[in-house]
């Protein structure tokens, strides 16, 4: 059997990675499969370069390897997708509830009828908003921003800006809630929101401008 050298294997590995394969398990499978095919091809006495080109062309026509990875990723991510769908439904419910209670408070209906468990519901909703929805929202946008902006703004500055933005929305949501529930500290939270907002907005504008230009 014609075994490939370390350098030849490394060359194939590089080509596989260039095709966009970044899953270690799939890389092992594809690399080994390619090596076996090339070794079999070289059995007839051919050289590595010719055998590689022939096998690689047949194995991975344009975008072929990437398509395998996309399919494999979809299989692995199926459970994650179901969980994400569940999270989106839960988020939507919390958001609807948040705006409905805000509206009821606005038109002075919330306190008028003394509905049972309304206060508990409002607290649960508030916790879900502050601990689940807002962190998820900001984390998602932070990841998008890092991917989008690339080198346009340093990672540390982007991270700082997003933390400020996150705290700003947390503070705003709590300020509204404190006011709604007639709890002390609502005004102070509005002031904190304003200060954080004034720090965040320039970062936001600069980032958007750089991405656009």
């Amino acid at each position: 059997m014609n075994m490939l050298t370390e350098a030849q294997i490394q060359y194939i590995r590089e080509r596989v990675r260039q095709e966009g394969i970044n899953r270690t398990d799939l890389e092992h499978d594809i690399l080994d499969h390619l090596c076996c095919l090339i070794e079999a091809e070289m059995e007839g006495g051919g050289n590595f370069e010719d055998a590689f080109e022939k096998v690689f062309e047949d194995f991975a026509p344009t975008g072929g390897l990437k398509r395998i990875q996309v399919e494999v990723n979809y299989i692995s991510l199926k459970k994650t997708i179901i969980m994400k769908k569940f999270a989106v439904i839960a988020e939507s419910l919390v958001m609807i509830l948040f705006f409905v209670t805000t509206l009821l408070q606005g038109i002075r209906l919330l306190n008028q009828y003394a509905w049972p468990f309304i206060a508990e519901l409002a607290f649960v909703n508030q916790y879900a908003m502050c601990l689940f929805i807002l962190p998820r929202y900001w984390l998602h946008h932070y990841r998008m921003a890092v991917r989008e902006s690339g080198e346009s703004m340093s990672l540390a500055i982007t991270r700082f800006a997003f933390i400020i933005g996150f705290l700003c929305t947390e503070s705003f949501v709590n300020a509204v809630f404190f006011k709604m529930m007639h709890m002390p500290g609502g005004d102070q939270l509005f002031i904190i929101t304003a200060i954080l907002g004034m720090i965040y907005v320039p970062f936001y504008c600069v980032r958007k401008y750089r991405v656009a230009v």
């Binding site: 075994m3 398990d25 799939l26 499978d29 690399l31 080994d32 499969h33 090596c35 299989i75 692995s76």
Partner: protein
């Protein structure tokens, strides 16, 4: 040679049957075994094989063992504990399906004569 669609539907029981008979196998070995057993009538492309293997792994039917061979990592696939019972069931189901197809197409041929 058979169409890709036809192969896709049958690949799962084929892999399970091969692994139940051979113990552990790697991707290239699976392709070559199918090829030689069917006298090159059934050629499995990598684009069909690996998604099928990863789906079986995701479903908990297969387990993977990585072994260093000739300077690279080779992944051997074998039936997981849960996979043994499932493999028997799927192979039996597929055999019944083949018999049904055989009956159906034989009946069609007889009618056409």
């Amino acid at each position: 040679m058979y169409s890709k669609e036809l192969i896709r539907g049958t690949l799962r029981p084929i892999i399970l049957k091969l692994l139940s008979e051979h113990g552990k196998m790697y991707g290239y070995e699976i392709c070559q075994t199918i090829r030689s057993m069917t006298r090159e009538q059934l050629i499995i492309k990598e684009g069909s094989l690996y998604p099928a293997l990863y789906k079986l792994k995701e479903d908990g039917l297969l387990k993977v063992e990585t072994v260093k061979v000739g300077g690279r990592d080779r992944q051997y696939y074998s039936l997981a504990r849960q996979g043994n019972a499932e493999a028997k069931e799927q192979i039996a189901e597929f055999s019944r399906f083949l018999k049904t197809m055989n009956t159906l197409f034989k009946a069609k041929t007889d009618l056409s004569i």
